[in-house]
């Protein structure tokens, strides 16, 4: 076989290999982009958990507000600011988990069992609200359940 005809025979093979390498690179880049997105989402979770802790304190204040302060406009303003924080969290895919009637370890964490008229295993009190981030539970609802 002449050198030219040998090279002519090899060329389509080289082109195919080149295309494969390029396709592998483009597919890898697309996958890497998704990995980075997941990493960013994961990193954001730390910040989100920190903000949730701050929200916890505002919730405690809100649930213990004396009656005479409930209509105070300064207090109302701060509670509206709390709503801004909740909206911000929602914008990032963070949702509050709805509290079930019965204790469910998939979304709840029991921190105490207490005497209660309710059926055993029922949730008596929500101590801290639970949150999910893009469908994944990042903090379970912390509850007291009936003995």
């Amino acid at each position: 076989m002449t050198k030219l005809s040998k090279k002519t025979e090899e060329n389509p093979d080289y082109l195919e290999q080149w295309k494969r390498e390029r396709a592998n690179f483009l597919n890898y880049r697309a996958e890497e982009s998704e990995r980075i997105e997941r990493a960013i989402s994961f990193a954001r979770q730390e910040l989100i958990l920190g903000v949730i802790e701050i929200l916890d304190n505002i919730h405690i204040a809100q649930s213990n507000l004396p009656d005479d302060l409930k209509e105070n406009q300064w207090v109302v303003g701060i509670l509206k600011t709390k709503e801004q924080i909740r909206q911000l969290l929602r914008n990032y895919g963070v949702e509050e988990i709805e509290t079930p009637d019965q204790f469910d370890p998939h979304c709840c964490e029991a921190i105490e069992t207490v005497e209660s008229q309710k059926d055993s295993g029922s949730i008596v009190e929500v101590v801290k609200r639970g949150y999910s981030h893009k469908g994944k539970i990042i903090r379970p609802i912390k509850v007291k359940i009936a003995k």
Binding site: E16, R20, A23, A30, Q73, W74, G77, I78, K80, E83
Partner: protein
């Protein structure tokens, strides 16, 4: 060879892109954002500020903050347009000696081209920092309606900034280039550009042999943009608040600033949600204390507020078509440019007018810069045409246990590509595997398209799950799918070649994708059910094997208990209640665990008795 950059020099924002690894990439500025406000200012210490820094101090320094210089570049001072704009500008302009425009910034008068040059110089510097090499050449875009004088002034702006301007490219042409629409044969393309401050319509005529691209129609409104949408929301908020609280916020600058930000944020949110809250605590105060603003704005209400602008844009499109002696059916492709085109109502209006989905997959704020970079790449030889690669429109995979479609090559994977996965048998001593090749996105194999099937036999007798069958999917550059299966133990191989699997019609692709989306929830449940059933199967199989091998170590009570639990699980498995299957699996698993512990403790006792020396003393380690 240094890169040629592509610059979208916009009225309110500018962007820059460059070819990297054969693809146009937007380059972020020094501040980390992908677009740069087209604003220049002279700060307090006579410091020149450009971009976001200039924008931040705009309110405090309106006289020396120069924005929208593009409205004045290359124009004569006496132009009606300039005289109109003069009324709206917060800075001073005057007639230059040559009849052009001069802008006052500080103590000096500048031509608009000089102001634009300051923006271009910042862009040049930011790109050089990012890519680590000098930038000397650029393609800069301009509106299709720019005349010679305006184009020349744009070129001069680039030269002042230290750039050799290889081309002043029409913005709609750049947008069409970004989508690759100039390569697909003779056609007419309409570019609908709804930006922050201006609305432009352009019609392009693309011809092959010889390759030509001509702008055959232009129209628009130089004072219609996204800022008008924000203003409508602001006006609504002020009116509603006055109705609710009896307070007029229109004279309160700080409140107005907060309302403006909230209005823009609400507008953006309503592109993806049906309702949003405008919540501004402590918006103002009076003798009775602080006041708060809280309103809910629905997408329907927002669309109502801006309907007149959307309708006007559609009228302008119709006028432009008419003046080019064309009808909507003559337009093969529609391209959306400008951030405001993210509004669903605009998308819908344009889609309805032309009876087709407009092109909008590229970020509408960046598409012009991307197109400029493509042109720059062609000019510098960066955009090589030889490696045109396609992507698979639909996923391909095989059927696995439980009639599940297990995908090996997901949709949108660029080919040529090869993927391999190892599978095994579902039953003891299974002599062959049936490779059923599927195409589609549905979970259940029956809901997908069969591309082909073959059998690999000669698998040596083994317990289920032990054989290793390597299945390889290979799509070559011609789109031919080769599927092969190899039993690793015997080395036996079988394969099938499927041609034309990627040549399905766009209609069928869209139908299958829509189908998958519509059934996404039910498919997910089906998959969970199959997984639960398979797990239950595996547990039962494992126990039955253990029972056979360790029969003498398991007492009759335990065997009976587990047998009853297995019957319960088998019954649950026949149904479709995933929770019951999981519960019964959990209960069986607990019993098996307990039985396993007993087996181990019996073995341990035997070992202990065997190891004890004659004197009953513990063995030294």
């Amino acid at each position: 060879m240094s890169k040629i950059i592509g610059i979208d020099l916009g009225t309110t924002f500018s962007a820059v892109a460059v070819m990297q690894n054969g693809e146009p990439q937007i380059i972020e500025n020094k501040e980390g954002t992908r677009t740069t406000p087209s604003i220049v200012a002279l700060g307090k210490n006579n410091e020149r500020l450009v971009g976001i820094i200039a924008k931040r101090q705009q309110i405090t320094n309106p006289v020396n903050t120069i924005y929208s210089a593009k409205r004045l570049i290359g124009r004569r001072f006496s132009d009606a347009q300039v005289q109109e704009d003069k009324k709206l500008l917060s800075y001073q302009i005057r007639e230059a000696g040559d009849g052009g425009v001069e802008i006052k910034m500080g103590e000096n008068w500048h031509k608009p081209a000089e102001i634009s040059a300051m923006i271009l110089a910042k862009i040049k510097s930011d790109v050089e920092s990012k890519i680590g090499e000098p930038v000397k050449e650029a393609v800069i875009t301009c509106p299709a309606y720019f005349d010679d004088s305006q184009r020349k002034a744009t070129k001069v702006a680039g030269e002042i900034a230290g750039l050799d301007v290889k081309m002043v490219l029409n913005e709609p042409t750049a947008a069409a280039l970004a989508y690759g629409l100039t390569k697909t044969g003779n056609q007419q393309i309409l570019v609908y550009d709804f930006g922050g401050g201006t609305f432009d319509v352009s019609i392009l005529d693309v011809r092959k042999d010889p390759d030509t691209l001509e702008v055959i129609g232009v129209g628009g409104d130089t004072h219609l943009g996204g800022d008008d949408f924000d203003q409508k929301i602001m006006n609504w908020v002020i009116t509603e608040y006055k109705k609710e609280q009896g307070v007029d916020l229109s004279g309160d600058q700080l409140a107005l600033q907060r309302i403006k930000e909230a209005a823009e944020k609400a507008k953006i949110e309503l592109s993806t949600t049906l309702e949003t809250e405008i919540n501004i605590p402590f918006i103002t105060s009076d003798s009775s204390g602080p006041k708060h603003l809280y309103l809910k704005l629905t997408r329907a209400k927002f669309e109502d507020l801006v309907r007149e602008y959307i309708d006007r844009s559609i009228e302008l499109v119709k006028e432009t078509l008419q003046s080019a002696k064309l009808e909507t059916k003559d337009i093969e492709e529609v391209v959306l440019v400008g951030g405001q085109t993210r509004t669903p109502a605009i998308n819908l209006a344009v889609g309805e007018l032309f009876g087709k989905e407009p092109n909008k997959s590229i970020n509408p704020d960046e598409v012009v810069a991307i197109g400029a970079a493509v042109q720059a790449g062609v000019m510098s030889g960066d955009a090589k045409e030889v490696l045109l690669l396609d992507a698979t429109p639909l996923s391909v995979g095989i059927e696995t246990l439980g009639n599940v479609n297990t995908i090996l090559i997901p949709k949108n994977t660029i080919y040529p590509v090869s993927k391999t996965q190892v599978f095994s048998t579902a039953a003891d001593n299974q002599p062959s595997v049936d490779i059923h090749v599927l195409q589609g996105e549905r979970t259940s194999s029956a809901d997908n398209k069969t591309l082909g099937r073959f059998i690999l036999d000669g698998i040596p007798p083994s317990p289920r799950g032990v054989p290793q069958v390597e299945v390889t999917f290979d799509i070559d550059s011609n789109g031919i799918l080769n599927v092969s299966a190899k039993d690793k133990a015997s080395g036996k191989t079988q394969s099938i070649k499927i041609e034309g699997s990627l040549g399905i019609s766009q209609e069928e692709i869209d139908r299958m994708k829509a189908d998958a989306q519509a059934h996404a929830d039910s498919d997910k449940k089906k998959k969970e059910l199959v997984e639960a059933q398979n797990m239950a199967d595996q547990l039962i199989y494992t126990w039955e094997k253990t029972e056979r091998e360790q029969e003498d170590k398991i007492d009759e009570n335990t065997k009976k208990e587990i047998k009853e639990k297995i019957e319960e699980l088998k019954k649950a498995k026949e149904g479709d209640d995933i929770d019951t299957i999981k519960t019964k699996t959990g209960e069986l698993s607990a019993l098996i665990s307990k039985a396993g512990s007993n087996i181990y403790s019996q073995d341990q006792k035997k070992d202990d008795q065997r190891e004890k020396p004659a004197g009953n003393e513990p063995k030294k380690e």
